[in-house]
């Protein structure tokens, strides 16, 4: 298998998002008993737009992520997708409408092969041999075609990440939620994943990314939201947010602490 060519990390945004927002969330609040994990966060994603979600550990990024994808009930606020209210829709309903997600901790179906893992997703919109061919196409896009027959349990971290992505892509989503799919990969792995995300956005997919690696967020996102302790800290163009004093303090702590 030839090593993919290294694509230099350019700093300009990938692709100007176009058309009305696909996914809109307004005033999302999530409370577990007395604890408010997410407080009054609003965001919108347009086709082709990459929305970066950053913030120190425990800022509530993943909780927000799970609320948007239906794995956690939002205590307040409203989420619409393509104009339809999906605030309390089950994850499987959202998947059918065109929302797909990866999990921070990979959860492949251990006993199924790589191809079969993707096939489960491909069956959403395809039947029989067509589903299998679609699954193969997706595997080729993420560079796992050669490992199709291998049980998912035998994949290394990078390939498990790619499998997560492949399963999400096989749903042919219109909005893709990536939960730290780049963290922990070696540099070449990161390069490939960034390149892949770039081409996905160019093909018109709306992407919401939770990520810690700053230069990846900076080079990919059209719009960034920074959260701390469950609340919105700063929002806007990646570079402005990166320069924002509160964001720096949240990440690096005060110089006179």
């Amino acid at each position: 298998m030839t090593l993919p060519s290294l694509t230099p990390l350019t700093s300009e945004p990938v692709h100007a998002p176009s058309g009305p927002p696909l996914l809109e969330a307004s005033g999302i609040t999530v409370r577990f008993g007395g604890v408010t994990a997410v407080k009054n966060i609003s965001l919108a994603v347009r086709p082709g737009e990459i929305l970066g979600l950053i913030g120190p550990n425990g800022a509530g990024k993943t909780t927000l992520f799970n609320a948007l994808t239906g794995f956690v009930r939002a205590s307040e606020g409203r989420v619409t997708f393509d104009g339809r209210d999906i605030t309390h829709a089950q994850p499987q309903v959202r998947a059918k409408m065109g929302m797909a997600r990866t999990f921070q901790v990979e959860r492949p179906f251990e006993d199924l092969s790589v191809l079969e893992n993707v096939l489960v997703a491909a069956f959403l919109k395809h039947r029989g041999r067509a589903a299998e061919n679609h699954a193969y196409d997706v595997l080729e896009r993420v560079g796992l075609a050669d490992r199709a027959a291998q049980p998912a349990s035998q994949l290394n971290l990078a390939r498990r990440r790619r499998l997560e992505l492949a399963k999400a892509l096989a749903l042919e989503p219109r909005v893709l939620f990536l939960d730290e799919s780049i963290a922990g990969l070696n540099p070449p792995g990161q390069q490939e994943m960034v390149a892949l995300i770039r081409t996905l956005a160019q093909s018109g997919l709306g992407i919401v990314m939770v990520e810690h690696i700053m230069h990846v967020i900076m080079s990919l996102s059209d719009h960034v939201i920074c959260m701390a302790f469950g609340e919105l800290l700063a929002e806007g163009d990646p570079h402005d947010v990166a320069a924002h004093p509160d964001v720096i303090r949240a990440y690096l702590g005060d110089d006179h602490d």
């Binding site: 298998m1 030839t2 993919p4 994808t69 794995f71 089950q90 994850p91 499987q92 998947a95 059918k96 797909a100 997600r101 999990f103 959860r107 492949p108 179906f109 251990e110 006993d111 199924l112 092969s113 191809l115 079969e116 096939l119 489960v120 997703a121 069956f123 959403l124 039947r127 029989g128 041999r129 589903a131 299998e132 061919n133 699954a135 193969y136 080729e140 896009r141 560079g143 075609a145 050669d146 199709a148 027959a149 399963k167 749903l171 490939e192 390149a195």
Partner: protein, 333 residues
């Protein structure tokens, strides 16, 4: 990133290991020639092999261990027999129904029960579901014992039945081939599920429900579908069993040990493989017969030891021993 040549695409969507099924069918076809005189043993073994296969659609594929399938067996048996008995058939049907119509109606009732029962209880995880199946089956047993239209605790006798495709339903040879067809039907359906969207969805749900929901799969709906198919086939098996017994009562047909026997056959045979339950049923029937004659009083003791041994040393059941790479079908985590 495009690979130079499209690598050969090994197919995942296969019918699974068809060779074992063909071998199994061959063995079942040869049996009457070798043991032509031992048809009772043959018919009851095949019926229970089919029942274990039917149970496995829910127990193995969907990972929901049921200990209440005797109730579904009973619905198949009772419905067909009641509708075939002149004095018991409801008046508006105007006369007794032929057994095949009765069996179909029994299958429909079992499907309805599975639909309601499943959608109520599949919200429950693992052992809760198993406990609910015990309770529902015991309630159905109490209804059968205490109501007259089911013959109460005296049960029912099989009335004279019309010929089915020219076959005398009470001739053991005919019953053998009907049971043979029943096992083949369950094999075909299991192979089809193995290759279908339902099959993969069930395996996904069994491995990781949340992971499956993220891929657009509704776990409860999938489990209910598996339960309905399992119930329909079990009811069909119940109708065959009623014809074989020709007389049955709640205390023999609807007891917990029958549900446990069906489940054990599938689990000991191996829930992981397609043919495991049928193989398990046949082996247990053979061991049961050998122990019955050889060990007399101690045969149930040896049976218990066998069950414990399989659990400890053959986690994937007997077939799991042979197919080391056999897929591990644990219960829903």
């Amino acid at each position: 990133m495009t690979a130079s040549v499209t690598p050969a695409r090994p197919r995942a969507l296969t019918f699974g290991n068809v060779w074992i099924s063909l071998a199994l069918i061959a063995v079942m076809a040869v049996y009457p020639l070798l043991f032509g005189k031992s048809m009772n043993f043959g018919v009851s073994t095949l019926i229970f092999a089919g029942l274990a296969m039917s149970w496995n659609l829910l127990g193995g594929w969907a990972g929901q261990t049921s200990l209440g399938h005797a109730a579904l067996l009973g619905i198949g048996a009772y419905t067909m027999t009641i509708l075939a008995t002149p004095e018991r058939v409801p008046a508006f049907l105007g006369g007794p129904l032929a057994p095949w119509w009765g069996a179909l109606i029994g299958m429909a009732l079992a499907a309805l029960l599975a639909l309601v029962w499943g959608s109520l209880t599949f919200r429950l995880r693992g052992s809760y579901f198993t406990l609910s199946t015990i309770a529902v089956a015991l309630v159905i047993r109490l209804v059968a014992i205490n109501s007259d239209w089911t013959g109460g605790s005296e049960g029912l006798f099989m009335p004279e039945l019309p010929r089915f495709l020219g076959l005398d339903l009470f001739d053991r040879q005919a019953e053998y081939w009907l049971a043979f067809a029943f096992v083949i039907l369950t094999l075909i359906i299991t192979h089809a599920v193995r290759r279908s969207r339902l099959g993969y969805a069930l395996q996904a749900v069994r491995e990781d429900e949340d992971g499956a929901r993220a891929l657009g799969i509704d776990p409860t709906r999938m489990k209910v579908i598996a339960f309905v198919i399992s119930a329909v086939l079990t009811a069909l098996g119940g109708s065959l069993y009623a014809i074989y017994l020709q007389a049955f009562e709640p205390h023999t047909l609807l007891e917990l040990p029958i549900s446990v026997q069906i489940a054990l056959m599938a689990i000991i045979g191996g829930r992981g493989s397609i043919q495991g339950p049928a193989i398990g049923a046949i082996l247990l029937a053979v061991f049961g017969e050998v122990f019955r004659t050889v060990f007399a009083n101690a045969n149930l003791l040896i049976y218990g030891v066998l069950i414990l041994a399989v659990t400890l040393y053959a986690p994937d059941g007997i077939t799991g021993l042979f197919t080391r790479g056999g897929r591990k079908l644990g219960t829903a985590r």
